[in-house]
Each structure stands twice: as C-alpha cells, then as structure tokens.
C-alpha cells in the first residue's frame, strides 16, 4: 500500500451526497468518489473546501487512506484468490467488502483497480497482497 491519499470525508444527507458524487469527477484531477453509505462519502484526492447542501454535514479532511493501483491482470489474480464476492462489471465502479480477510474499498477505472484500505490495517493488508505483486512481476 505504497500510496497515501488525502481526501475529504463527508457525512451528510443522502441527497446532498448524491449531487456531490455525481459531479465528483469534475472536482479535479484524480478525484475519486467512494460512497461508503447513503450518508457517507469520501472524495479521494480531494482537499480544500466543498459545498455540501446540508447545514449539519460533517466535513473533515481525512488523510488516513492508503492504497495501491493494480493493473487488470494483477487485480484479477489477486481478487480471484482473495475475494469471495462478485465485483461489479461496469466501469468505473466502486465496491467495498472483505478482501484477503480485511475490509477494503475498491475503485475500478477503465484499465486499473485501486485498492484502498484504512491506514490501521494497511501494513497487514500489504503483507497479504505482496505475494501477488511478486507473482505478477
């Protein structure tokens, strides 16, 4: 999990988050919307203020995510062995669940897969991912 991400973590009314999520890709280069729950959204690679249409929204900078971009083959190899659930077919797509026994967030763009995990689990996850990176090399 070589990369650490800055992000903006938002808890707000679902409608307000829907709007942000929809336009997220316009928020700037490399911003990735990760919708954890109807009322929770993390904008990866986003910093600075953001307009949320909910006066009670909780908006905090969050630099606690780490991740690794995998090419399609490595991702397939890894997920085939370590993920027990169906990954979405559309692209781009966000998914979350247990992979290699740990809770991760997955972002699938056209070619690559980003695996994101909380810093507190990242070292252990990296150790579980390492053999697959090795095999792909």
């Amino acid at each position: 999990m070589r990369e650490r991400f800055d992000s903006t973590h938002i808890v707000a009314l679902p409608d307000a988050l829907d709007r942000i999520e929809m336009d997220a890709l316009d928020l700037g280069d490399g911003v990735i919307p990760m919708r954890f729950a109807p009322d929770e959204l993390v904008l990866l690679n986003h910093t600075g203020p953001i307009d949320v249409d909910d006066s009670h929204a909780i908006v905090v900078p969050d630099g606690s995510w780490r991740g690794e971009w995998l090419d399609a083959d490595t991702a397939a190899l890894f997920l085939r062995a370590e993920c027990a659930w169906s990954i979405p077919e559309r692209r781009p797509a966000f998914a979350q669940g247990l992979v290699a026994g740990l809770p991760v967030k997955l972002w699938f763009d056209q070619q690559r897969t980003l695996i994101v995990i909380a810093h507190v689990r990242a070292d252990d996850f990296a150790a579980r991912l390492a053999p697959y990176l090795e095999a792909a090399r």
């Binding site: 909910d54 009670h56 900078p61 085939r80 290699a100 909380a118 070292d123």
Partner: protein, 745 residues
C-alpha cells in the same frame, strides 16, 4: 511412452498416462490395502493409501502424476499421526462465481450444463473424474472443491447435483477379499489392460462388462460368500445358492453386480432450494436385500452380527444404530453401508427410516486444504506502530489494537510521568463526531448525564449503560463551538458503540450525522508535571483549562487538545490527523528531551490509573456492573430525563447491595490480578486490578468485595504473590493525590 513414476514401499512403480495411483499399483500386481472389493469410483474405502504423507487418500481418485511417495494403508490399527516436527504446506484457493454449478460431468451433468448455458447463464462444472472433487455444498450455495493443486470455491445462484450413482457393494462373508470388483470397476481395470486371471461374474452384470471380461454370462444363483484362495487374501472361489444347493465356482476375480444406489450425499447436504438433483443421482433405487452375514461397514469394520446385536439391545433408530456401531462414520460417510442399514431396519420390521443427515465433507481433504485462503483476524496498528517497534517496545494486542506494553524500563516510564513529562500513544481510543438537529437529543437519551449542561469548549466523563443498567463502556462527551459533539470511547469499544448509537437513534427517529473517526485520527497523550511546559515549547501558550478542549496547531499540525487526566498528572490529549502522528511524536520528543520526556507503555499506564482509582471497563467491570456496584453513582444524573438503563438502575438500586468495587491497600506487593479474597473463612470477592505503587509505597488493588454476614468487610485476606497470606485494607479512592491537585495544576 510418457508416464510417471512413484515409489511404493521402496519400489519404483511406473504409471501410464492417465493412470490413477490404484491402476498403476494394480498393473504392478500390488494393492494399497490387504483386500477389499473395489469400486474405483471413490465410493468405497478399499483403496485407501498414504500419498506423500497424507493418509486416507483414495488411490482410485488420485492421479499418479504428481505423486511421489505412496504407502499402503495399515492393515491393522490406524495410520500414524504425522511427525510432530512436520511443517505445514501452503494451499491456494481459486475463487469463482457462477450462475450455476454443475457437480458431475456425466451425461446428465453435461446436459444440465448445456441447458443452463443455452439460457445464457454462467456455468461451472466440477467433476471428480477430472480431478475436481466437490467436498461440500455450503450455505449460499457455495461449492467447495478439491483440485490437484489447491481448492476451488464457487459462489453460485444454484447447484445441479449430477453425481450419478454408486454401485452397491457386496455384504457377505469374504467380501473383504481382494479380487472382487463392481462391474464399472472391472471394466476400468480391464480397459487398462490389467491381467485378472480367471474371471467370473455374479448378480446383475451388464453385457458390456461381460464382453469386456470375455464372459458368456454370470454364475447361476444368489451370492452367498467368497472363499479365499489357499493361504491368500485373494478370492479363490465364489459361492452361490441355487435351487440345487450351494455351488462354489473357482476364480481369481469376481465381478459382482448388485445394482446401484443414488450418489446423493451432496444434494442432501444442500439447503432448501439450493440444489436440484438430476440423472441417476435422483433416481430412487430399491433397497438392497438385507444381508445375513459379512462386513456391512468396511470403514469402521462393522459386521452384520454387530448390527443384529445392538438392534436386539434396543438401538433401533438408524442414528442409534450408527452411533452404537460406528457404521457410516468412516471415510465413505455411509456410502457403502447406508443402503444396508436401511434394508436391515426394514427387514426387522421398522418403518423405513430416512438416510442419516449428510454433512460436509463429502470427500475428504486436508486441514491445510480446507483452511486455504482463510485469514486470521489481525489487530489494528496505530500510525505510531512502526515507531514503537523501533523504540524497542514490547508490543501486545489489547482491545483489537497493537499497543506498546513497555519500552523496556517500566520504572523509568513511571518516573517520567510522575516527575517529568511523558508521551503515550492513545490513538486507539474510540472517537466520533456527531452532529445534526437531534444530536443533543440522541446523546441525552444515550448517556446518564445531562448533556445540555456541557458547555461549548467543555467535556465530561460519561458511562454508557445498557438496558439492564449495566456499564458497557465509558468515555468523554465534548461539545464544540459549532454545536457538534466529539465522543470518545474505550479502545476497542468504538465499533460496538457506533452500532449502539446508530440503532438507538434510528429507533428514536432522530436526525443525526455520525462519523466514526477512530481509524482516521491519531492521539498522543502528553502527561506529567512538565506537560504544560512542553506544550508551551510547542507554541501552545493558552492550553485548554481542566476538562476543556479546543483546536490548536502544535508544531504546525492541527490538533484538538483535550485537557483531562487518566494518569493523575497534568495531561493533554492531542487528537490529530493520523498521517501526521510520527511528525507530531518526534517534534514533542525532541522538544521535551531535556525535560526528561520519554514514552510510557500500557503496563505503566495501568499502574498510573490504578493509583488514581480509575476503572477500566472490561477489566474492572463485569457483565452485571451497575453504577452503584462500581461506586460511580456520581456519573448518573436522574434529573436528565429518560436515558437507556434509567429504569433498570432505579429498580436495582432498591435491591440490597451485594458487592462493590473497592480499593484495597496492602503493606507489601499485592496479590495477582484475579486473586480471590476472603473475609475470615467467607468468600469475599476477587481482585480486578493490582500493582505496586511507588508513590504510595504500598500494594494497591481494585477488587469486587462481597457483602459478608450483613456488611462489607473492611479488611480482607488474600494470597500474596509468593504464596504467603497477606491482608488488605479497604481504602478510599483514589490512592494517590486524593484532591486531584496534580492533574489540575
């Protein structure tokens, strides 16, 4: 010609392409077991061997390629355990998803797969004959299979079981002799070109098999027994009964056709609606005739006499029959004996009983194989984890986190807190932000305190009670200037607390926003008489007052600082973005170096807080800890309206008090934590926390002290750390600095 070789009892065995271990052995005139009729289909236990150190492997189901060392199954007794110094093997998992899993690639399986594909459904087919043995259908459905180089797990919408039928094995005297084959098995052996000597056939044997064996027909009559060849475990003759009496037909090999039984174990294992069963696996077969004699269960070596015997002694239920004889509990899980057990009971006039429950695993696999792909849950690591390890800390798992237990010198760590300044990684504390129109209303009902009186910039210690009025967590509530609240919880308590808050607030219909920041925020406690000085050096000249909090920048890092105290000294909890934890820690360490600043671990923290009489939920509390028993009534405000546990606390407060958590003081080292205490000869409770206190120069402890003879003892007896009797005196808390002057300094 290509082929492979494996070693068998010191001899190299050549296998031809496509050979199973069993075929290769039969070619060389050997067999892995002493005798036994063979099915060559994995249904009977009569070709077990030990392959590359793994016992109970069916030689007929194991490809000869890839096996290097084969040993026979012991003729008596059980295979040995592997040597205790044997190392584990690593197995990989191939995970797949499909709409349909078809188990069995025979005629009906192939048809089922084609039909499903024609409907555009994704199909996975597994077949033992192709090296992929399904071992179970689990909830899902989720099919797990053993493959030549690992395991395969397939999550599917539905499963088609097309496992065909097994051939019924003979149960007559001598059925354990070698040279007896079912028709299907005989054909396989003959096709492989293996010499079988003089062959005869009995029973219902199909023409194809007869012609493969160059036989014109079967021996007349009904099978009675097999007789051994002189001095051999091989069959020498088959005896049948005809109208004219018994006839013995000499032979080297007997083909016995007794019909088929559906191979439906996997289907019986599936949940309702998960699997459909097709082909001969679905075809009910008539029960075989009840045998009179012979071994009915070759796995557990159970004879018909034993069945008779237990039946006559009242073991009349099929499960009792099984459990009392152990028939059906071996490697074939009833594959051979189950039809006979049922026909036996039918023969005895019992109603025909259903087959006993099918459970995984249908075919066996090693612990390494069935454990493949699993991960053991790990503890979370704070952002300072690597740094602690570099500092030489002994790390320990507690509350779901790795934490420094000690950095090697607990006395120096203790002294730093009491005499200078010290850092402690408290990133493990649960932390949440709650906002929303009903945030305050939610907290008001969650906690037994009047949240409305917590002013902005202030915080308060709070208990969390369950509906029974028992304490299950504690922490702080802090109100921020913007009207939102920060909540803290015990390390490891956050996930439970988050669910608790969400469930209750949803139930109350409250409109809140809740963000759990436990995993995204670091926290460092700066504690000791020189803590304020250290903060000043870090640029904080106006730190928050006692029980206050605010936003600051420390060494350029944004922090929310809480002023509170668990150690009994001036303490500032610096909550900060965890990606900057290392930077903050290093800055503080550097700034505090000449103040005597050094970190302290959990061992020291536990001692420090014990001197202050602070409880640790989970260690000092139990399932039934009411605020009264914990002597924490001060933390419950009944004037704050409804709160969870209120009625239970009011109710239990009217019941006479039976035990309380009290402080004990010992002149010397205290008993171990968990030690039992006595009042005279009466049981008087147990120690929950204990330590030697350098500051009070006494052994100190928290203990559950029971009411004895109508009162609470003021003095208790316990066993000291060296086994000697010692006396503890009930002492008011805290043990150290009772006025709290040091913490508020």
């Amino acid at each position: 010609m290509a082929g492979s070789t494996f070693s068998y009892e010191g001899t190299a065995i050549d296998a031809q392409d496509g050979d199973s271990v069993l075929l290769a052995l039969l070619r060389s005139g050997r067999r892995p077991t002493e005798g036994g009729p063979l099915c060559l289909a994995g249904d009977c236990p009569n070709c077990l061997c030990t392959a590359d150190g793994v016992s109970y492997v069916r030689a007929c189901q194991t490809a000869a390629t890839g096996v290097t060392d084969v040993a026979p199954h012991p003729t008596t007794g059980e295979p040995p355990l592997p040597p205790f110094d044997e190392t584990a093997v690593d197995i990989t998992v191939d995970r797949r998803q499909a709409d349909v899993v078809v188990i069995g690639h025979g005629r009906s399986g192939t048809a089922a797969a084609e039909d499903a594909r024609a409907e555009g459904r994704a199909v996975e087919v597994v077949d033992a004959g192709e090296g992929v043995e399904a071992i179970g259908i689990y909830v899902g459905p989720h099919v797990v299979a053993r493959t030549p180089n690992g395991t395969r797990e397939i999550h599917a919408e539905s499963v088609v079981v097309a496992t065909g039928s097994s051939e019924i094995q003979p149960v007559v005297p001598g059925s354990g002799l070698a040279g007896i084959y079912t028709p299907r098995a005989a054909r396989t052996v003959l096709d492989a070109g293996i010499e079988l000597g003089t062959i005869v056939a009995v029973g219902d044997v199909d023409d194809e098999t007869l012609s493969a064996a160059s036989l014109d027909g079967v021996v007349a009559g009904e099978l009675v027994r097999f007789e051994p060849a002189a001095g051999s475990s091989n069959v020498g003759a088959v005896v049948t009964k005809t109208a004219d009496g018994e006839i013995a037909t000499p032979c080297d090999t007997v083909i016995v056709g007794l019909g088929r039984a559906p191979r439906d174990m996997l289907a019986r294992m599936a949940g309702p609606g998960e699997a459909t069963i097709v082909g001969s696996a679905a075809t009910a077969a008539p029960l075989p005739q009840c045998p009179n004699d012979g071994v009915v269960c070759p796995c557990s070596n159970v004879t018909m006499q034993q069945l008779d015997d237990v039946y006559d002694r009242g073991f009349t239920h099929i499960e009792l029959l099984k459990r009392s004889t152990l028939a059906g509990t071996g490697t074939c899980q009833g594959g051979v004996c189950l039809p006979y057990l049922r026909s036996f009971l039918a023969d005895r006039g019992e109603s025909i009983q259903p087959a006993f429950t099918a459970r995984p695993v249908a075919r066996q696999l090693t612990l390494a194989e069935i454990g493949a792909g699993a991960h053991t849950s790990t503890a979370a690591r704070t952002a300072l984890d690597g740094l602690h390890r570099k500092l030489g800390a002994q790390m320990d798992r507690m509350g779901g986190w790795w934490r420094p237990w000690t950095y090697g010198d607990p006395d120096a760590e203790y002294a730093a807190v009491r005499e200078a300044v010290s850092l402690c990684d408290v990133s493990t504390l649960g932390l949440m932000t709650i906002s929303g129109p009903d945030a305050e209303a939610t907290l008001q009902r969650l906690y037994p305190t009047d949240v409305s009186t917590i002013r902005a910039g202030r915080s308060r210690y709070v208990l969390m009670l369950d509906e029974r009025g028992y304490v299950f967590d504690d922490g702080m509530i802090a109100r921020r200037d913007d009207g939102t609240f920060l909540l803290t919880f015990t390390s490891g308590g956050a996930s439970m607390a988050e669910m608790w808050i969400r469930d209750w607030s949803a139930g109350w219909g409250h409109d809140i926003r809740l963000l759990n920041q436990t995993f995204s925020t670091g926290a460092i406690n700066v504690t000791g008489p020189r803590a304020t000085e250290l903060l000043t050096r870090a640029g904080i000249t106006d730190p928050p007052p006692w029980l206050g909090h605010g936003k600051y920048e420390v060494a350029g890092i944004p922090c929310t600082i809480f002023r509170l105290s668990f150690t009994g000294e001036v303490s500032y909890e610096l909550h900060h973005p965890l990606e900057r934890s290392v930077e903050l820690w290093n800055a503080l360490s550097e700034l505090g170096a000449d103040l005597g600043c050094r970190p302290h671990g959990l061992e020291t923290l536990l001692r420090l807080r014990l001197e202050k009489g602070h409880i640790i939920v989970g260690q000092d509390t139990d399932y039934d800890s009411t605020p009264r028993r914990l002597r924490h009534e001060w933390a419950v405000n009944f004037n704050s309206g409804e709160f969870i546990g209120r009625h239970a606390v009011l109710r239990t407060d009217r019941i006479p008090l039976d035990k309380q958590l009290l402080g004990l003081r010992f002149d010397g080292p205290p008993p171990i934590e968990g030690a039992v205490i006595w009042s005279g000869d009466e049981y008087a409770g147990a120690i929950t926390s204990a330590a030697w206190s350098p500051s009070v120069e006494a052994g100190i402890a928290l203990a559950w002290v029971y009411e004895v003879d109508g009162g609470f003892p003021t003095e208790v007896r316990a066993t000291g750390p060296d086994g000697e009797p010692i006396t503890g005196t009930v002492t008011s808390l805290p043990f150290f600095d009772p006025e709290g002057a040091r913490a508020r300094a």
